[in-house]
Symmetry: C2
Subunit: 128 residues, 2 copies
DNA sequence: TTCGTTGCAAACATTTTGCAGTTTC
DNA sequence: GAAACTGCAAAATGTTTGCAACGAA
């Protein structure tokens, strides 16, 4: 039994915001970004809609950086670079020969559905 | 200026516990495991020592699963399998040809220090 | 005796949730 | 009008921290 869906201006704005940035933002970031346009926006609404998008497959969780979950509207799997210093998350091009990243692969402990590749280091800004 | 270090029975036990399991446990898990032996153990102590181990490089953080940080005393980088259903974390053998996983690689957004490879899926127990 | 370590509880930060009012259909 | 959506604030979680007591050197 699925719940019906109704249009919501705020939900649309949340998804649009996430789709128009490469920042791989946190819920808070999206909230801060939309608050000027929707002064009555609540953080709970951002969380609720993000969680809804995730179950619908419109959004994925890239990683938890400094305690905050970071989201991406680009759901096609691709590697990310995380700056452990400032928390910035950057897209990286798909590396050649990463077969396991797409499709389903078996190993003896379970069934792999997808593969997450996270490069860690210091971004150029933080290397000063 | 580094701080001197003093011996602590509890610290030793925390590290030993982490080293003797393949569970990639959370702080809470270690706490629960040691509580019977150290009835006066405090969760804060577990967190403090884990954080200390991490700065010393004795321990790494594997991932944040269901909101909880998971640790590993095996600090040599290797891929993990995460069961998104029950949260179990399993070791995977190093795949061939994962050069970027060790050493330092450059890309135009920053400097890569290491690479984290996480396979997601359902473990055998959860596939029932 | 000195100073690192710990228990305890309070403080924090992020995320979730209950409820009553609002909006969409 | 029914059901989804939202603001608000409280609650639930996971983690950190201040402080006085404790333990190792």
């Amino acid at each position: 039994m699925k719940t019906a869906r109704k249009y919501s201006r705020k939900r649309e704005a949340i998804l649009k915001t996430l789709r128009s940035t490469k920042a791989h933002p946190s819920a808070e970031w999206i909230y801060a970004r939309l608050k000027p346009t929707f002064p009555d926006l609540s953080l709970g609404t951002v969380y609720r809609n993000l969680s809804l998008f995730r179950t619908e497959g419109l959004v994925t969780s890239v990683a938890t950086v400094k305690g905050q979950e970071r989201f991406d509207a680009q759901v096609i799997p691709h590697p990310h670079f995380i700056c452990d210093s400032c928390g910035k998350v950057l897209d990286m091009d798909m590396l050649p020969d990463f077969g396991p990243a797409q499709g389903t692969v078996g190993f003896d402990g379970g069934e792999v559905e997808y593969c997450e590749i996270l490069f860690h280091g210091k971004c150029n800004d933080c290397k000063q």
